[in-house]
Point group: C2
Chain length 644, copies 2
């Protein structure tokens, strides 16, 4: 493979491509907040940081931006995609503000919007949008985080009083890690087993006041503070315990189910599990927003590390005696450039996700169950892969900046600490990938059924050919083809995805046999299942990037993006190359060629590294740090000294 150099590109032209469908929103946010130094002082105490973030919340509310995501009928802007785009840009600043805003307007406000009906909207939406009713999203319990269907909190209906009694039956049912709970929240959407007429209908959300206007916990509600965390210390996470707390019947968020005054339960969805997951599905926005926030933080970390890598020099070139800029070293490029390429891929995948969500969840749109389910699967996958990528990449950026990267003043420590929890909140990544696999398996089952006899025979034949190729290892199936050919890259990724899924389905079929050890069979295949999910997400993310390259009008920008897309695709294939060789998709020589190609692409993209991070369009104020020599507080110090 020979990588041809591409011409320099104007970062602004690149930014236009990256900005995508909500470019105007992005520009607005940049203008509105670009001049503000958004990083929290690293020496703030927990309470001071919370104060600061509370101020930020007020500023956000006053900006009117959070309103843009709500129903136009209630003074909202109806622009779901726009508000999520704006929200994820907060990831360039203080992530505590991002998360607190997400709790208030995304989770709490979102739940009232999508799970409630006009009686809740009329009463609360305005105050929620304005930030006058700070609220919580009380789902997770100490004993149940991933398996929220098994929550222990109960909401038992008392027909005599026409009230629900919300109760925490045991310590494991205590609501835990609840954002906005420790200090500011006055109301919570509490998820509880709904028990009207003596039988549980599964988990539902209810609006439960938790604090008075003066900030005291209401009778029956015990609130404690989760205290200091690894990061996000501007968010007041807390714990809620309910001791027979009574709320009116109307507190039930009743879009999908209701309880009549006499205690009769009714729902448009009969099955408890299906209903619960339908309700959960409407809340997919939170998961998408976290993925977006992680993306912004990753971009910022890369901008810092790559700009530093272009100025930091260490060790001399023996020929010239000059010290070498560290980004000229292959090892340094290897640390940062494939990660940068994947960050681009995830950016476009995220853009697609936001766009799909905007269309599926538009106010007034006809609900499309298939589209909604596809959105949920995609959101779970992109969130898992994107947040793991963030953790790994921010870590690599920290290390690439050495000791300077460890100092709070250089911003990387905060990014690292704040985003760390993204891999396990809004769905634990491992559990999310299982969700993705589950979705793929049921889709696959339906497809196999639909094939009919002839199709099935052909399908089986394909599988046999593949298996033979694997056993003989004679000639790799996909060996021929240029690694730089987009179609060839796609064939490799699609083939892996399909093979992993088909073999998984075959393997799990044994669990259907009578008397089979279902848990044992599923558990033994868990790594296979996670690989299948990962392969699917890899292909989806690749497709998003490839589509973005295709639609880029400017030929120069397109050429650069094409090379970045190559680096992304080949570095994914490189990471997984053992699988490709094990399954006869690449020969040993082909596999080594992938590594060589990644090295070549790193060298080819090295001159464009700065352009590629400038293309994110992160305002300079959000990157200000001594490391980059653009720290306004340092620059202004002499002036302040002169005044003193």
């Amino acid at each position: 493979m020979t990588v041809k150099p591409v011409n320099p590109v104007d970062p602004t032209a690149l930014r236009h491509v990256l900005d995508g469908r909500w470019a105007a929103v992005r520009d607005d946010v940049r203008e509105q907040m670009g001049a503000i130094r958004l990083h929290p002082d690293p020496d703030l105490s927990t309470e001071e940081h919370r104060d600061r973030v509370a101020d930020g919340m007020r500023q956000l509310a006053e900006s009117g931006r959070p309103h843009s995501g709500f129903d136009p009928a209630y003074g909202g802007g109806g622009d779901v995609g726009g508000v999520v785009t704006a929200f994820q840009m907060l990831g360039y600043g203080d992530l505590s503000l991002l998360v607190k805003a997400g709790v208030q307007w995304g989770l709490f406000g979102g739940a009232v919007q999508v799970l409630g009906t006009s009686r809740h909207h009329d009463e609360y939406l305005r105050a929620i949008m304005d930030g006058d009713l700070p609220g919580c999203f009380a789902m997770t319990e100490t004993g149940h985080g991933s398996d929220v269907q098994s929550l222990g909190t109960t909401a038992t209906y008392d027909p005599a009083a026409q009230e629900f009694v919300v109760h925490t039956p045991d310590p494991s049912a205590r609501k835990d890690y609840i954002g906005n709970a420790a200090r500011d929240g006055r109301m919570a959407v509490v998820f509880a087993q709904l028990i009207p007429g003596g039988r549980s209908h599964g988990v539902h959300g209810l609006l439960v006041p938790i604090r008075s206007e003066s900030g005291e916990a209401l009778p029956g509600v015990t609130i404690t503070d989760c205290g200091r965390k690894a990061g996000l210390n501007g968010v007041d996470n807390g714990r809620l315990t309910f001791d027979q707390v009574r709320v009116p019947r109307e507190a039930l968020l009743n879009r999908y189910a209701d309880v009549a005054p006499d205690g009769t339960y009714s729902s448009s969805i009969e099955n408890d599990t299906r209903r619960f997951f339908t309700m959960l599905g409407t809340l997919v926005r939170g998961r998408i927003s976290v993925a977006g926030g992680a993306g912004s933080a990753t971009q910022k970390a890369l901008a810092i590390a790559i700009r530093y890598g272009e100025t930091r020099r260490q060790f001399s070139d023996p020929a010239t005696g000059d010290e070498v800029v560290v980004l000229d070293y292959l090892a340094h490029q290897r640390k940062l450039l494939p990660a940068l390429a994947t960050t681009y891929a995830l950016h476009f995948a995220q853009e697609e996700l936001v766009s799909a969500m905007h269309d599926v969840q538009a106010f007034g749109a006809t609900p499309d169950e298939d589209a909604q389910r596809a959105l949920e699967t995609k959101a779970a996958g992109v969130k898992a892969v994107g947040t793991w990528h963030a953790t790994a990449t921010i870590q690599a950026c920290r290390e690439a900046c050495g000791g300077a990267g460890y100092l709070a003043e250089n911003l990387l420590p905060q990014l690292k600490a704040d985003t760390d929890v993204f891999t396990t909140f809004e769905g634990d990544n491992t559990v999310l990938l299982q969700l993705v696999a589950k979705g793929l398996l049921s889709e696959y089952g339906a497809k196999v059924k639909a094939l009919g006899t002839l199709g099935m025979a052909r399908f089986v034949a394909d599988q046999v050919v593949g298996a033979v190729a694997e056993r003989t290892g004679a000639r790799a199936l996909l060996e021929r083809g240029d690694l730089r050919d987009r179609a060839h890259q796609r064939r490799l990724l699609v083939d892996r995805e399909e093979h992993l899924l088909a073999s998984l389905a075959r393997r799990l079929r044994t669990a259907l046999a009578p008397g089979a050890d279902r848990f044992g069979i599923f558990n033994a295949a868990q790594d296979h299942l996670l690989r299948a999910a990962r392969a699917h997400v890899d292909r989806v993310v690749f497709d998003a990037f490839a589509a973005a390259v295709e639609r880029t009008p400017d030929a120069g920008v397109r050429a650069l993006l094409a090379q970045v897309c190559d680096l992304h695709a080949l570095s994914v294939i490189e990471i997984e190359r053992a699988w490709f060789v094990e399954h006869g998709r690449l020969t040993a020589a082909g596999s080594r060629a992938v590594t060589a190609a990644v090295n070549e692409l790193c060298a080819a993209l090295r001159p464009h590294a700065r352009t590629l991070v400038d293309g994110f369009g992160i305002p300079e104020g959000w990157l200000a740090s001594p490391l980059l020599g653009n720290d306004p507080t340092e620059a202004s110090a002499p002036a302040e000294a002169a005044l003193a």
Copy 2:
């Protein structure tokens, strides 16, 4: 492969094996400090944390433990291995204390001990041991961290005054990230280009007072504070700038070189570079200690995550309806158990390293250059691999504990934040691995030379056979052999190590040609070089574990350790399996068998997981956290409430 279950083992018996040569020291430390709650309050401000650590330093000094590492002639204990063993156990507690103690007694005290002579020992050693003379190790500069041979600080000799003038010529020569500098240090070993008689003889260390007894910076010395860091906030890192600061001629640490009153320079080592690296080499203790501290922190994180994984339940087994303990899931085992196995391997490698250091650097021992060089290479390798392993494993433990792992009260955030910098301080890991590779290359060159003609012919023939096997990919060379066979595992690891090194040597030989682009050739091979170093360290670490299994007297413990060693070896091979297949060492089927074997070993070791972490012998007080339900502050809360 079939993995046979092994019998349960008494954790105490396991601990005896792990405790090794300095078992008595370990028991002493456990007894001395096991009852103290060593974790810093996570809400401490930077200054409060520094105060707390300063208290800890006083307690340590009073315990007499730091003395044990110094020369018996000056009241020390002469037990280098023992003091490092005790030191690394501080990694179970507050790592700020570990690092501050390391700066005072390891780096500062160590430099005075090994680079100084009786004039320095007589005057300072006692005060250093007692903690009455807090000091700094001022090597790193803002512009030079990895390439310390190019430091900018100068120490110019003035024969008229018989003084050295220590000076910071430009901002890049500012001493940076210096522990103990921002607040407590009163003296520093300053590394500077030594310029007697107008010419530089390279970097040397000098003792430079920086603060008065009352804590004021001395004239000509500017001290600033590095401020908040990602972690280790109990350590006062600072920056030092010198403006023509004069120190007497005797301030030069003159074990390896001296300057006569008239300015004549003399040294037993003629070559500036060799001298400098000889001096640096004596300071290897710092690097070894960091590796040990990282090991302790990793063990603690695993103890927390595995114990939590045995109590935390999520999702139900469809057959029984009971919720499943999360450590029963293969995916969870995969996250923690191979990491646990590698932590065992690194523990034994570290023990070997400390032991070798103790013998090589014993007071009164005859210097053995070869042994010293081997020690340095091994220390660099184990430090790099061990600290990266710590970062990855502590991260995995945090994620394995979900939201609970993100709360400061559960100790993982502090472990993660504190150890993060270990990958880049005391030598950047990437640079250290290059050092390892360099050492291997020169050893290899000498070996090839010594082979003679006949040996060389056989050697070349071996290479050709290997290359043919790779090209045909027909039958993997090392395919036959049981994956559970220790000798077979070793063959795989050795073969990889040797092949990577030989092919690297061949590749780099082209750089010797006249007119060759040396930088270009070395840079293009940098990933190859790093892989070779890594392969070497993998083999060294494996050998240490295998040797420990061999020498374990108790058959039951030995059987368990053997299985853990299998898991370690096979998970290393699994990570690198693409290489083995690419190079004809494993067939595709053999590669897949490795993955299957790792899964089986995870299942087999699952019942022993708790025993394996209990074997570390971490006192319960150091693990106390709400997550494990053993938090003394929580348990005592009712009693305190009763008193109020």
